[in-house]
C-alpha cells in the first residue's frame, strides 16, 4: 500500500462488512464465560490469604485483649507462667547455649543478613525484588515499632531477665526483624519450588530457636514472639506474592534481561490459551523477539499453525510497563516541564487501548504500519497483549546495506503523511523503521499523538532525516527532503531538535559511527536556526519538583529511622 493512499470509506446505508478476519481463520474465537478464571489469574494463594486474614484477626483480637484490663492480666499471667517455667529450667550450660542462640536476633546477625541480601539483589540486578524486600522489611520494622509504642507491654514480670534488651516487649523486635529478613531473602533469592519449600522449615526452626532463647532468657513473653512472627511472616509473604508473583517475576539464575517479562511457564501457557480463545488462532510457538529495541514492553513473535505457517507480532504489557511509563513521564516533566501530553495512564488496559488505537489510526491514515489484530487479555487489568501483523521479511533500517534515494523518499513521505493526517509518531529511531521490499514501514506507534504541536511534528521530521542519514549522507537526505519539504520546514525541524529530543538509540548510532549528523544538517541549512528552547517552567513544575524532593527526603528519613531503630544500620 502506498503511504499516501486513503482507505475508502464504507458506503452509506449498507451493512459494514469489515475487512477479512485474517487471524481467526482457524479454530474460531471463544467468549470466556462468567466465573471462569482468566488465562493467567494472579492469585495470592491460599496460604497467603490465610496469613493475611490470620494476621489481621490476631492483631484485632490482641488489641481487644490488652485494651481490656481483665484479659490483659490473663495474657500477662500466661506469659508469666511460660517464662517462669523456662526460668525454672535454667542451668549454667543451658544459659550459655541460649545466650549463643540469642545471637540469632542480635543487631549484627540481622545487619549481616539484611545487607548481604541487599547486595545479592543488587548484583543479580533483581531490582523489583530488592524494592519489595526493602519495603517489606521497612513495613515490618515500622509496624512493630508502632505497635510496641501502642501496646506499651512490659518485659516478662517476676523473672530475672538475662539477655540484653531495649524498649517495650510486644511485638518482639528481634523476632520480627530476623523473620522478615529471612522471609524476604527466601522469596527474593530462592527459586520457587524445592529450594524455597526447603527454606521455609529452616526459617521456622531458626525463628523458633530465637523465640525459645528469648523466653528462656526472660527477654520476651510467649505473646511477644507470636505476634512478631505473625506480622513478620505475613507482610513479606503477601508483598512478594502480590508484587512479584513467581509466574510473572520468577526468581531464576538464567541469563536474560530483567526488563522483559518471562514468557515461559504458566504465562507462556496463558498466552497460548488467550491467543487461541480471543483471536481464534492456533498457536505453534511464542518467542521473545527484538528485545534490545524495546524497553517499554515485551515484544513477541507468534508462530501460527496453518498452511503455510504464518507469524504475528505481539507486545506484552504488564503493570511494570505502566509504572515505567508513569516514572518516565514524571521524569520528563521534572526535567523539561510539560513539553507535550505527559498525562500518565491509569491502567494497563488503557495503555494497550492507546497502542491499539494508535495502530488503527496509523493504518487507517494510510501510513505504512502493521495491521492491528486487537488486544488479548492475559490477566484482567494487569496483563494484555497488542497483536499486529508481523513483517517477516523486513530489515531494520540500520541493518540495510545502503539507503538509496527511493528509501529516503519513502521515509520522508511517511512524515509528510503523518503531518497531513495531523499525527506525530514521537519515537522515530532506527529500530522503529523497517525496510521491506524496498519500502519503509513504521512500527511501534505507542507514543503516537493526535493533533500534536508543530514543534513535535518538526522533531519527527528531523529525527527521520537523521535516521536516514545514518545509512547515507546528510547531503543526500537534505537534497531529497527539499523535494517534499520547504527550507523553512526543514530549518524549523533542526531548530526544534537537540540532544534529548532524539531517541537514545539514534544518539547511540551516531556516536558509534563517530558522525555528528545534526551539525552536518545545520551546515547545509540556508541559515543557522535559532534553537527552540525545550525547557518549560511553570508553577506546577516547580511545585512538583519541590514535592518530589520533600517526599523523597521524608521517605529516606523514615526508612533510615525505622531501619536504625531495628538495628539494621
Amino acid at each position: 500500500m502506498e503511504p499516501t493512499a486513503q482507505r475508502p470509506s464504507f458506503p452509506a446505508g449498507e451493512p459494514v462488512a469489515g475487512r477479512p478476519q485474517r487471524v481467526s481463520a482457524l479454530g474460531g474465537q471463544r467468549r470466556r464465560p462468567s466465573g471462569e478464571a482468566p488465562p493467567l489469574p494472579r492469585p495470592l494463594n491460599r496460604s497467603g490469604r490465610i496469613w493475611l486474614v490470620a494476621a489481621g484477626g490476631i492483631l484485632v483480637l490482641w488489641a481487644g485483649l490488652i485494651s481490656n484490663q481483665g484479659t490483659a492480666v490473663r495474657v500477662l499471667e500466661l506469659d508469666h507462667a511460660v517464662v517462669a517455667w523456662f526460668a525454672g529450667m535454667r542451668t549454667g550450660l543451658g544459659t550459655d547455649v541460649m545466650q549463643t542462640v540469642h545471637a540469632l536476633g542480635s543487631r549484627w546477625t540481622v545487619r549481616v543478613l539484611f545487607w548481604s541480601t541487599l547486595a545479592a539483589l543488587v548484583v543479580l540486578r533483581r531490582f523489583r525484588h530488592l524494592f519489595v524486600f526493602l519495603g517489606a522489611t521497612l513495613a515490618v520494622t515500622a509496624l512493630t515499632g508502632l505497635l510496641a509504642y501502642i501496646f506499651v507491654w512490659p518485659r516478662p514480670l517476676g523473672v530475672v531477665i538475662l539477655g540484653d534488651w531495649s524498649g517495650y516487649a510486644n511485638p518482639s523486635r528481634p523476632v520480627a526483624a530476623l523473620t522478615a529478613i529471612l522471609m524476604g531473602g527466601l522469596y527474593s533469592l530462592a527459586p520457587a519450588g524445592r529450594l524455597r519449600q526447603l527454606g521455609k522449615p529452616v526459617i521456622a526452626v531458626l525463628v523458633t530457636c530465637l523465640a525459645v532463647s528469648l523466653l528462656y532468657l526472660g527477654e520476651n513473653g510467649l505473646s511477644d514472639v507470636l505476634i512478631a512472627a505473625v506480622i513478620a511472616v505475613t507482610i513479606p509473604l503477601v508483598a512478594f506474592r502480590m508484587i512479584t508473583p513467581g509466574e510473572v517475576f520468577p526468581v531464576t539464575y538464567h541469563r536474560g534481561s530483567s526488563a522483559h517479562l518471562d514468557v515461559g511457564g504458566r504465562r507462556g501457557q496463558a498466552i497460548h490459551r488467550a491467543l487461541e480463545d480471543q483471536l481464534g488462532v492456533q498457536v505453534a510457538e511464542v518467542k521473545p523477539f527484538g528485545l534490545s529495541g524495546s524497553a517499554g514492553s515485551t515484544p513477541l513473535r507468534v508462530k501460527v499453525k496453518g498452511e503455510p505457517e504464518t507469524w504475528l507480532f505481539a507486545k506484552l504489557y504488564a503493570g511494570s510497563h505502566l509504572r515505567s511509563d508513569r516514572w518516565y513521564k514524571l521524569g520528563r516533566t521534572l526535567l523539561y516541564g510539560r513539553l507535550e501530553d505527559e498525562k500518565p495512564f491509569n491502567t494497563v488496559r488503557r495503555l494497550v487501548q492507546q497502542e491499539d488505537y494508535a495502530l488503527r489510526l496509523m493504518y487507517g491514515a494510510g501510513v505504512r504500519s502493521p495491521e492491528p489484530f486487537g488486544i488479548v487479555e492475559i490477566t484482567p487489568e494487569r496483563e494484555y497483549m497488542v497483536v499486529t501483523e508481523f513483517f517477516d521479511d523486513a530489515k531494520e533500517i540500520g541493518d540495510v546495506e545502503e539507503v538509496d534515494d527511493h528509501i529516503i523518499d519513502d521515509g520522508l513521505r511517511i512524515i509528510r503523511r503523518l503531518w497531513d493526517a495531523g499525527l506525530a509518531h514521537r519515537d522515530i529511531k532506527p529500530a522503529n523503521l523497517l525496510v521491506r521490499q524496498g519500502r519503509v514501514h513504521l512500527i511501534d506507534v505507542f507514543f503516537a499523538e493526535v493533533r500534536p504541536s508543530p514543534w513535535r511534528q518538526a522533531v519527527d521530521l528531523a529525527n527521520m532525516m537523521l535516521v536516514l542519514a545514518t545509512r547515507s549522507s546528510c547531503e543526500q537526505v537534505y537534497g531529497r527532503a527539499r523535494l517534499q519539504f520547504n527550507d523553512d520546514e526543514i530549518t524549523e525541524a533542526f531548530a526544534a531538535t537537540s540532544g534529548i529530543t532524539m531517541p537514545s538509540q539514534l544518539r547511540r548510532t551516531m556516536r558509534d559511527q563517530g558522525r555528528d549528523l545534526h551539525a552536518g544538517f545545520l551546515r547545509l541549512l540556508p541559515q543557522w536556526p535559532r534553537p527552540i528552547a525545550i525547557q518549560r517552567w511553570s508553577i506546577r513544575r516547580v511545585g512538583l519538583m519541590a514535592g518530589v524532593v520533600l517526599l523523597a527526603l521524608l521517605v529516606l528519613l523514615t526508612a533510615l529511622n525505622s531501619f536504625a531503630s531495628a538495628g539494621l544500620l
Binding site: G56, P154, V160, S166
Partner: protein, 197 residues
C-alpha cells in the same frame, strides 16, 4: 478479592491501634515517665524503667511539668534509662535524666536531699556568665543512682534549677510493686521472688 483482603487487613490493623489507644493527651501521658497516672503510682513506662534497673529502689519520674517544659528522647534498655526535659526558655535537652545502678560522682559535693530515702550530690561543671550553665545533680539510693545533667543555655540558673527539682521526682519500687499487684490481683509480681522484699 485481593483489594478487599487488603482493605480488611488495613481496617483490622487500624482498629487494633484504636482499640488500645486512649485518646489525646491521655495516650501520650501513659507513655511518659510520669510518677502518677489515673490515680496510680507509675505508668506502663515506669514498669519498664523498673525492669531496666532491677536493683533500683527508687525510680526517677516526672511529677508535674511546669509550663514551657516537655519530655522527649525516652530510652530504656537493660541497665540504663534515659530521658530528656526540654525547655522553651533554657533550651532543648536542658536536662538529661539517667538512671543506672552505679554512677561516678567526680567532684560532686553532697548537699541536703529534697527526696526522702536519697542522698543528693551537686556538681558545677562550667558557667559562662549570662550564657550557659553546665552542671549535674546526683541522687543515690539503695541499688541505683540517678543523674540530672543540666545544660541551661540562658542567663538564668536558679529559676530553671528550681523548676527541674520540682518537676522531677521519684516513685519507690515498693509503690510500683503495689500498683502491679493491684492491677493483676496479686497474680503477677513485678520482681522475681528472690528479689522481692
Amino acid at each position: 478479592m485481593r483489594r478487599r483482603l487488603l482493605l480488611l487487613a488495613t481496617a483490622l490493623l487500624v482498629l487494633a491501634g484504636c482499640g488500645v489507644a486512649p485518646s489525646g493527651s491521655s495516650f501520650t501521658e501513659a507513655r511518659e515517665p510520669s510518677c502518677r497516672y489515673q490515680g496510680r503510682e507509675g505508668t506502663a513506662l515506669m514498669v519498664l524503667v523498673a525492669q531496666a534497673v532491677p536493683t533500683a529502689s527508687q525510680l526517677p519520674c516526672v511529677e508535674l511539668l511546669p509550663a514551657g517544659w516537655s519530655v522527649s528522647d525516652v530510652f530504656v534498655r537493660n541497665g540504663r534509662v534515659r530521658f530528656a526535659l526540654n525547655s522553651d526558655r533554657v533550651g532543648q535537652g536542658a536536662v538529661q535524666v539517667v538512671l543506672q545502678q552505679f554512677c561516678t560522682l567526680g567532684k560532686a559535693t553532697r548537699v541536703p536531699s529534697d527526696h526522702p530515702g536519697t542522698r543528693r550530690y551537686q556538681e558545677v561543671i562550667s558557667i559562662e556568665p549570662g550564657k550557659r550553665y553546665l552542671g549535674a545533680l546526683y541522687y543515690l539510693f539503695p541499688g541505683g543512682c540517678v543523674t540530672y545533667r543540666l545544660d541551661f543555655r540562658s542567663d538564668e540558673q536558679a529559676r530553671p534549677l528550681g523548676e527541674v527539682t520540682l518537676a522531677l521526682g521519684f516513685v519507690t519500687r515498693d509503690a510500683l510493686r503495689e500498683t502491679i499487684s493491684e492491677f493483676t490481683d496479686g497474680k503477677v509480681p513485678l520482681d522475681p521472688p528472690s528479689e522481692a522484699q
